[in-house]
Subunit: 548 residues, 2 copies
């Protein structure tokens, strides 16, 4: 099946960096990592793919859904993490799924699970394949045959309830297709994770994705009215409700279940009218601490900005949003109902009270224009590139970041991110501890000089989600060893400091060590018991979240 | 233990209706139910209590915590529903707990559960005892001895994190004590369910209580950073976090668990600065439909009013908020950070656009004064009685309503409420169906003439929570039979119409039939499995939510 997507890395070949962009990137990063000769290694080609033979032959009724095409299997072997990319660049596809299966609809998913039960095959749900935590790969310690269940054909908005502003949407629908189908109704989900273009509604639900909004409904969890999922024990479906107090929420057990409790096939989700009023501005701060104070106060103000991101000076520099001379707070307000200038004005006051400046708040004119570009990628303002302000430059960089990351990895760098969340009382020490642990591990792993930058992606009244980016020259033949050392040290620092092992990247297999320490043991036992009810043979994504 | 509370009904004797209030209530209600002679029957007295002998003798280490005092046992036999009150007025305490146990602290709860495991006794967690769904009563079909575990001594705010605006609070803390302990810090939980005065943090968490706020964080769920609970299998405690995406939320499994998965002992909850700016107004509508349109638009506006309640004309009349000539929308905005006049002005526009009028929006002056009265009972404005506007009159009536309900029941009436939630697309038909089903059942049960009023207690962008109040003359000797008939009919209408069996009253034992149909069967099996992990002998509140 020709999806036009690169089997070894992010996105589509035609959207990747141009040669000029590659050179500019290399020139910008080289001095930071002390390597003057950054050149990308060649990407793998189809004829370099070597795979073990598939061990599954589908029944004739499903034959049309099955693919054992090498590029297909290689493309479904990994997610999109640094580790995944390095393995692909090493031409290592030693543990691919035996086949990729694309059921035509929910009944197809049911039939597939029945057949998987019969033949004892593992089924790994696959939405957009953007996992960065080992969430879609074949478990290393399980010798059963494996199917990657790609939900690409479950891609429709099935029903729109305009009065309630809600829609019933199939789980395989990728971000742009979802917004495209809602646009004619004047509605939008406005959920824009960085993976937006190549991630699906079902994936967002299964991993508790965090999206566009920096405050209020940050996680997709809060957009859910009801969920349907197929399990080996049958279909489970919750009642569509705007709110309820009837026992523990069944939706909340599926949210974050990462494919181990069922394959989500559709959901009713809450939408919004497309914003008509917008206002944005960028606060500049000479110290990181004062910028943190500002976003804390903004988060506690009840102004509920749609965008409220802090970029430290290094992050601003790397992303092209600033020149590295100041820490930036990107602020955006939006509404479909009323002007938001007063909210921005009060936010600017808070920035000022905290020691920052907003040189020139950009107030977008009232507009009914569609905010989305061809791929619906613009979260909260005019189209990318139309306004050369820092906020817009940062956003453009944000959404294309995975392409840049791929290039950096091809240039031999260690390029990784770590994200977490922590309450304000421990914030300062926690961030310092993580920076220190990360720097120590980089040195110890021989990945030095390195750059460690930090941004705050989501702001809560009681805390924030810090997100660290690391860039360093990698070992020519052992970047995965370096990665493991750094990842382990940072995970331990997060764990010891009281943060979450993941704010929005999910647990998968990569975060298991930290997750196993973070979540209560009795809850883990309850999760195993809940899994056994719906998946007694542990067919579904084994090894993710728990050992079945 | 002298708590000063009435063992047979709501609250304290000294706060009950005066003789003059009784007469005024009777005069107001009599014409509505076609009964000219409404006089309250005498309340039960302590010497009328007849109980079976207690079957438990505590070990000496716990002897000081145990009470077999008849008034204590009678007072812990029921919650505070219509059915509970009728049974108490019938002097029916045939199935009381064998004893009331008041552990001094969390270790005491642990010791109690260990002993309960040894002797095979049922433990019913008891916070404020305000359940209206049979959530704290002895199961009818279980002959094991029963302890009511009253958490009254777990009543402290243990820790306040001012920077994050959060506090660690013991589960038995009742609403007023909780706010009293937070007030010196300038902080407030601002969770004001109608039961506020006699309900506890642990009870709110266990039942997914809905409180003060009509929009945004309506349920206590959203205030939770972490929870600790004692189970027969040990203590379970979640990590305190402002947000997380690490697997299904362990907190969300405890939220709404109604005592079957553990006894919640404490939680970190999110607080707010006490509001300084307030503005409120009352919209008047000649038709219910136009008032519904207004609250829908308000709920979808992003203005997030703190209060946005619709009272139909009858509800306005009964509650004393209006004269019955108009449907009312009570609107309130509040902020600790900025003026809210502009928000109220836009809300007034929406009221006008929907066909309503706001004769005189009441704009509260900026204020730093403490909003709480002696019992901290004022949700969102000046003290009760200070402002004779409809909004304030309604609020005063709201918080004293349980006392009035008790009087109506003593006068021989059927006085019951039903609450649910539904999306907007089905709202009109749904409300009509419930009204019709309720009226049919009242007629069929011989409880006619009757009054059925409706208010909307919480407004979501995608729907609302309708709350019905029924008043009718009851059968002299079979009000519980009438209640069962009406309850069953309304529950069936809610079920068939697609609503939730409960928006914020919880499931308990009374809502089991509807709940059993509403929640997915596989989820019920998962809940049973999760219970078995922590409570293999089904000691904890058996019969609530599921059959163990």
């Amino acid at each position: 099946m020709a999806t036009g997507r690169r089997f070894w890395g992010w996105g589509r070949e035609e959207d990747a960096l141009s040669a000029a962009e590659q050179r500019a990137l290399a020139a910008r990063v080289a001095p930071l990592v002390g390597d003057s000769d950054l050149r990308p290694v060649p990407a793998p080609t189809r004829d370099e793919i070597e795979l073990p033979s598939p061990r599954l032959t589908p029944p004739s009724s499903m034959a049309g859904w099955f693919s054992t095409d090498p590029e297909d299997r290689a493309g479904h072997t990994y997610g999109k993490s640094f580790r995944d990319l390095v393995r692909a660049l090493e031409r290592n596809w030693r543990r691919p799924p035996d086949c990729v299966v694309r059921p035509p609809d929910e009944s197809g998913v049911e039939a597939l699970l029945e057949w998987a039960s019969e033949v004892g095959a593992i089924v790994i749900p696959y939405g957009g394949g953007s996992s960065v935590v080992g969430g879609v790969e074949v478990p290393a310690d399980d010798d059963r045959p494996v199917m990657s269940c790609d939900l690409v054909h479950l891609s429709r908005v099935l029903e729109v309830d305009h009065l309630s502003r809600a829609a019933r949407i199939e789980a395989g629908t990728l971000g742009p297709a979802l917004e495209d189908q809602l646009r004619p109704y004047g509605l939008t989900l406005r959920h824009f994770p960085q993976s937006f273009e190549f991630s699906s509604l079902g994936g967002w639900l299964a991993t508790r994705s965090a999206g566009h909004f920096a405050t209020l409904a940050t996680h997709i969890d809060d957009a859910v009215e009801s969920i349907r999922a197929v399990t080996p024990a049958g279909i489970t479906a919750t009642r569509r409700l705007p709110g309820s107090g009837a026992g523990p929420s069944p939706d909340r057990l599926l949210l974050g279940s990462e494919g181990i409790l069922g394959i989500i096939t559709e959901a009713w989700v809450r939408l919004q009218a497309r914003p008509r009023w917008r206002a944005s501005g960028v606060g500049r701060f000479s110290t990181f601490d004062s910028a943190v104070t500002a976003v804390r106060k903004l988060g506690q103000s009840g102004l509920w900005p749609a965008n409220c991101r802090l970029l430290d000076a290094t992050e601003a520099l790397i992303s092209g949003s600033g020149d590295g001379s100041a820490h930036l707070v990107l602020l955006g307000f939006e509404s479909a109902d009323h002007p938001v200038d007063e909210a921005l004005a009060r936010a600017a006051e808070i920035v000022g009270e905290s020691g920052g400046t907003i040189p020139s708040p950009m107030e977008a004119a009232p507009s009914t224009a569609d905010a989305g570009g061809a791929r619906g990628a613009d979260p909260d303002g005019p189209g990318i590139g139309e306004h050369p302000d820092a906020s817009t430059r940062w956003r453009a960089s944000f959404l294309r970041a995975p392409y840049f990351r791929d290039e950096l990895v091809r240039m031999g760098l260690v390029s990784e991110t770590f994200e977490t969340a922590i309450t304000w009382d421990r914030f300062d020490i926690f961030v310092a501890e993580i920076r220190a642990a990360c720097a120590d591990a980089l040195r110890s792993a021989g990945a030095w000089p390195a750059v460690i930058s930090c941004r705050l992606t989501h702001i809560y009244p009681d805390g924030a989600a810090p997100y660290f980016t690391v860039l360093a020259t990698g070992h020519p033949t052992d970047r995965l060893g370096q990665w493991a050392e750094i990842k382990s040290a940072v995970t331990e620092a997060i764990e010891n400091g009281g943060g979450t092992v993941t704010h929005h990247h999910a647990v998968g297999r990569d975060h298991r060590p930290g997750y196993d320490r973070q979540r209560p043991d009795l809850f883990a036992a309850q999760l195993r018991a809940a899994k056994h009810v719906v998946d007694p043979s542990a067919l579904l994504n084994p090894g993710v979240l728990i050992d079945p």
